[in-house]
Amino acid sequence: MIFLDHLINGLSLGSIYAIIALGYTMVYGIAKMLNFAHGDVIMVGAYIAFCGLQYWGIPPVLAILLAMVFCTLLGVTIEGFAYRPLRQATSLAVLITAIGMSYLLQNIALMIWGANPKSFPTTFINGSNIRLGQLNISSATLITILANVVIMVTLTLFTSKTKLGKAMRCVSEDRGAAELMGINVNRTISLTFAIGSALAAIAGVLLCSSYPILQPTTGSMPGIKAFTAAVFGGIGSIPGAMLGGILLGLIEIFGKAYISTELGDAIVFAVLIIVLLVKPAGLLGKPMREKV
């Protein structure tokens, strides 16, 4: 029974990582850059939702929608101001910009909301917990896992069936050719950031519903772990992000439960190293040969 308990917790944690990893992997796949500010967009989304629920008293669904809209605008703005001018620059320049953006977001949040940790209201998500004998599944866990499945299905359908989705795949395969085929590359990349940031807002709300402490640094560690998950599953691949996220969540929980809580994080990152040694492109990634 306790194994099942750990399994469900692992799936829940993994789902959060998966949703965040999607943002990383989509942006890398299409814009070929690592957006390290993604974790902090999550934090901003969580704060907006918190303000909506706590200060402005708006109903939960509206608060989440507001967070999604705000994050989408934020993501697109960041892309327009910070990353687009660097399209032709070295990837190192963009990476450093992303890290700087991450710190900028953290400190702006610190200025606006202060450093005192806030407790995210979970009353709206706490329906009845399901009880199966000794097992207790909180509604936050269930909603997280469900949201993950829904997002995965929606995104897969979007990229394979819709025109915009196909455009995104084209831009990720060959940007020059896509442009020649008449695809507006700038708009496609902005759309990618928009979708990624909207997902970040959802991830923020789900993260803080399961772990209700909100501080300006809340997005930092989940961001790093989700980035690890994205690389683990194959960066640039959407199913890879899903798989990587869930596996990472399971490994973390099982590692802590059956090996040692002290080594929990060490085990997670050790697995990453091993996978990259054996299969550098990640589990579902395709090895890319570059013509020099």
Binding site: H6, N116, S119, A140, I213, K256, T261
Partner: protein
């Protein structure tokens, strides 16, 4: 003859005038160093405000000393605390009331040891704070004492025998308390059925709480700050696990987290020398003044700092500190005086020995209906 009498009278008058001047209160410059911004701001602001209440009282009452409080922010950071310390000395501080938290206090205290500056910390409780130096004294218990005192309290009040411990192995505060708790607990017959760790960034406690639940622990000992504690309480509630949670001074402040559902903390016990609901006159006087000035109820850190100011004044009086005395000179005199005084404060009747550690009786409070209450 007349001239002699006139001269004598003039001398007497002059001496009386001098004596009258000597009644002017001596200005004592005390610096408060603590985290007034950042993640530990709750504690730094509490100690600063508590000190301010004491300073207002002492200055209003007249008496031998008048206190000038210099405030500096260390942001709970071991590098920034040195800047704060230097700024305080530049502003003329003769002694330090601080620092509020342990790690910065270890750094600043060590610097003070070399420079010969006297430190009285209201709340920095790790042993390293007073180890290998003579210039740092504490108002609060050392962490080892908190750990041992918790084990003693649990055993004495027969709260249970199966205990689980969850602690932060990246924090000297947490590990220090855990070490002596386990040691004393074993000696008193408490059975430690589960011991799990976490780190500064951990937010998922399902494994740690799950193991405690699986092991059948009746009491869960939480030597940590209130932020991870609040997550543990929520996790336990989700798992429908209802042990007695026992915390130490870091648990204080859990009720002030914005948006926190205080029903989760119902029945939580914590080791604390001060609760705002205690009925005695001294506490009520302090609490009402604090509420009037700052609009909130003081936590034990504020009481520690309030006592800290009074302790400094008592020691200064014993040592005969003057307004123009440099910190180096004041330091040795204060050290000698601290070993001789006994101060009855909000947090108990306190005496000190040359290690800098305080001796007073440990007490624990329970959270009932969202307020701390003394007694079982």
């Amino acid at each position: 003859m007349k001239k002699l009498i006139a001269l004598a009278l003039a001398l007497v008058l002059a001496l009386t005038a001098c004596a009258a001047f000597a009644e002017e209160p001596i200005t004592l410059k005390i610096a408060h160093i603590g985290p007034t911004t950042g993640a530990a701001a709750l504690y730094g602001l509490a100690t600063q405000h508590g000190a301010e209440i004491a300073v207002d009282e002492i200055n209003a009452a007249g008496g031998k000393y008048r206190i000038e409080l210099i405030c500096q922010d260390d942001e709970h950071n071991v590098e920034k605390v040195i800047n704060a310390y230097n700024a305080a000395l530049d502003a003329g501080a003769q002694m330090i009331l601080g620092t509020t938290t342990s790690k910065p206090c270890e750094a600043a205290g060590a610097q003070g040891y070399t420079d010969r500056v006297f430190f009285l910390t209201p709340s920095a409780s790790s042993t390293a704070v007073i180890e290998d130096k003579d210039n740092v004294f504490q108002v609060c218990f050392t962490d080892p004492n908190q750990g041992a005192a918790s084990a003693q309290y649990i055993a004495d009040h027969k709260l249970g025998t199966k205990v689980a411990v969850i602690y932060n192995n990246a924090d000297v505060y947490s590990t220090g308390i855990r070490d002596t708790f386990v040691e004393k607990g074993a000696a008193l017959g408490l059975e430690i059925v589960s011991e799990e760790t976490f780190t500064d960034e951990t937010t998922d406690f399902t494994v740690q709480v799950g193991k405690a639940q699986e092991a059948g622990a009746e009491i869960v000992f939480l030597p940590m700050y209130y932020t991870p504690a609040s997550l543990i309480l929520k996790t336990a509630a989700d798992k429908n696990y209802k042990p007695i949670f026992f915390g130490v001074d870091g648990m204080d402040g859990i009720l002030s987290v914005e948006g926190f559902d205080t029903s989760l903390a119902e029945g939580v016990m914590l080791l604390t020398p001060f609760v705002a609901t205690a009925e005695d006159e001294k506490t009520q006087n302090f609490v009402s003044k604090y509420q009037a000035k700052f609009g909130e109820t003081p936590i034990q850190f504020a009481a520690d700092a309030y006592d800290g100011i009074y302790i400094l004044v008592a020691a200064a009086e014993k040592a005969g500190i003057t307004a123009d005395m440099a910190p180096e000179e004041a330091c040795d005199l204060m050290i000698a005086a601290m070993k001789e005084i006994e101060v009855e404060g909000l947090t108990g009747t306190m005496t000190w020995d040359e290690s800098g550690a305080v001796t007073k009786t440990p007490m624990a409070a329970t959270i009932v209906n969202g307020v701390y209450v003394f007694g079982d």
